[in-house]
Amino acid sequence: MFVFAGSSQFIAISMIGSGAAAASIILATFVVNLRHLLMSSALSVFLGKRRSSHLALLAYGVTDESFAVNHHRFLTGEWDWRRALVVNHTSNFAWVASTIAGGLGGQFIAPGAFGLDYTLAAMFIGLIVLQVNRVLHVAVGAAAGVVSVLLSFLLPGNWNIIVAAVSAATAGAVILGMHARESRRRKK
């Protein structure tokens, strides 16, 4: 309940199992969660001036999934920080509740039953599609994916995700910038 981050929980479990030191587990958690730094930056655009206590509450629930839902809603309008807060904390509650349910009931489900292995991938697919509303998004997404795969063989841990996302978004922003300059020049 204090570490609201699925991937780092999995890593911690397996590292504790193999007898790793607390410091190295904390470091792994930090690296795995660095991507949320990018997500919070992207969300901050929509928040305006808020009391820092409100932001502190909101920050707790920034995850891959809640972020994608909130970012999409902010973009399409009719969304405010209160609703974002509700999304974040509802998903947090569901996470804790289903962790308990999984702990109690997990033994009755065969590994891989009902396509459960695929939920995460399918959810990412759904979330990506919600974000895409121009061709550049497809290009940036494809580039980020390919770079991420290649880098995953070169970089340790989850660094491939951060490096790939930053470089693909940067390339995309450069293209957007050049495009804007071009159209300004044409107007003159």
Binding site: F2, V3, A5, A12, G19, A22, A23, I25, I26, L27, T29, F30, L34, L37, M39, S41, A42, S44, V45, G48, K49, R50, S52, L55, L58, V62, D64, F114, G115, Y118, T119, L120, A121, A122, M123, F124, I125, G126, I128, V129, L130, V140, G141, A142, A143, A144, G145, V146, V147, S148, F153, N160, I161, A164, A165, A168, A169, G172, A173, G177
Partner: protein, 107 residues
């Protein structure tokens, strides 16, 4: 691992999880940011999500190796179509799971 080490681990993990999520909200909200930075931030979601997804689809483990022809990637194509058509997370996830499950039965 001793009891106090567990407590330390819990606190350490909690802070490295929370702080990176909080600092950008706290520093960046309520400011007017330059255009290029907004452009960049608007591309971050799709970039991060894709960087998470594709390795999930084409890399098998253990040992970690590239596996470009596999069920996960194959099922991703119809799942993408359903996602684009319905724009609904629920339908996308249900389709993906059902197809992956059915494909696992057939192949």
């Amino acid at each position: 691992m001793t009891h106090s080490e567990y407590i330390l681990l819990l606190f350490g993990m909690a802070s490295v999880t929370y702080v990176p999520r909080w600092i950008p909200l706290w520093l960046l909200s309520g400011r007017t940011l330059p255009r290029w930075f907004l452009d960049w931030l608007s591309l971050i979601p799709v970039a991060v999500l894709s960087a998470l997804l594709l390795p999930e689809l084409v890399i098998s483990a253990p040992p970690r190796h590239l596996d470009p022809v596999n069920l996960k990637l194959f099922v991703a194509l119809p799942t993408f179509l359903v996602a684009a058509k319905t724009r609904s997370l629920l339908w996308t996830v249900l389709t993906g799971m059902a197809l992956y499950w059915a494909a696992g039965k057939v192949f």
